[in-house]
Subunit: 205 residues, 2 copies
């Protein structure tokens, strides 16, 4: 049957925890795949905040989101996903390191899930724009402060690209040093493929 | 909700793959917990082979198995687990490194699952008796040769005890070097607890 991929495993962890009506954060919007995934889980009464430092990313994500909404609302009943209406989504052209200040105060301690998918924007004109530990580590701290108890933070790490190995190691060290009274951490990876993306997941206690 | 423990995650992987009527192997019987787990999954028409180099381990496992069978067959209907009759079990006082020779030839390429739970027998008089790479690595090779396509081999590694770290590293290296055409490998661990048990799982292609 095959082991589930790192991305599927990440989604399964989120799916089991994020409830309809909750707040979720996509810390690295990119082309918007995680954003749509979170908006489907949080459903109509939920809220999703998306962060990216590139306008091109937010534009792509907005288009993707609009297509999803059209499919939900369209006249073709077969394309409607019953009860799966999307949460409201707010996109912010800001560094994820600022997420604690950027969100309304009522989010603190109430966020169900935060997803990080590190590295650079696929297909971007300037692939030198990428996440680095200088902003990623404060962003992880901010994300953890926003989570509710039992809320989850996932980080998919890309050790293969330039600087990605350093960033992955920094994230893994940060997570491994979290006190057990504050959070639990697991990793899921493919030992045959040390350069492949892998997951660090953090559940707030 | 909490992440599933390494032992639960291991059992989930096996449970999804091992089918009623199949053959399974407990490569490190110990007190028999995995043995009973496998016998329940393989059910009445299945077969489970258990290996251990210590008679004390096999004795404990046999007792545990007998208790389980009594509970299944007993007059108290509440204690019966419907349809969960145990597979036939054969216990072998031999090194798991010899499993390919020790099993009937009809097992080759037909085994659904092999479980390794490395280290020493809990509560044993002589805790110097423990698995080592010298026998563990040939045992893993033998196990892989016995598995059917999509069959699974799990190894729970104990880096904390004397020699356990060396053994864990050896197993991890063995698994990480398996060609992708032969097998897929994942690891599941707790980065906050580098000395805690962790899982290497191998699915035959």
């Amino acid at each position: 049957m095959g082991f589930v991929s790192v991305l599927n495993f990440t989604q399964q962890l989120i799916q089991k925890r994020l409830q309809p009506g909750e707040i979720a954060i996509d810390a690295t919007v990119g082309t918007g795949a995680d954003l749509v995934f979170l908006a489907r889980l949080a459903k109509t009464r939920g809220r999703v905040y998306g962060f990216d430092v590139q306008q091109a990313a937010l534009d792509q994500a907005r288009e993707r989101l609009d297509r999803e909404r059209e499919a939900d609302d369209g006249p073709d009943r077969r394309s409607r996903k019953a009860g799966a209406k999307l949460a409201s989504v707010e996109l912010l052209l800001r560094s994820h390191a600022e997420m604690a200040e950027a969100l309304p105060p009522d989010c603190r301690g109430r966020v169900g899930a935060v997803m990080f998918n590190l590295g650079y924007l696929p297909g971007a004109e300037d692939s030198r724009v990428m996440t680095t530990p200088a902003s990623t580590l404060p962003a992880l701290e901010a994300a953890l402060s926003l989570l509710r108890p039992k809320g989850i933070l996932t980080a998919v790490l890309y050790p293969a690209h330039d600087g990605g190995g350093v960033e992955a190691a920094a994230v893994e060290r940060w997570a491994s040093e979290l006190p057990g009274a504050q959070a639990r951490v697991i990793s899921y990876r493919q030992p045959q493929r040390p350069a492949a993306p892998y997951l660090i997941a953090v559940e707030k206690v």
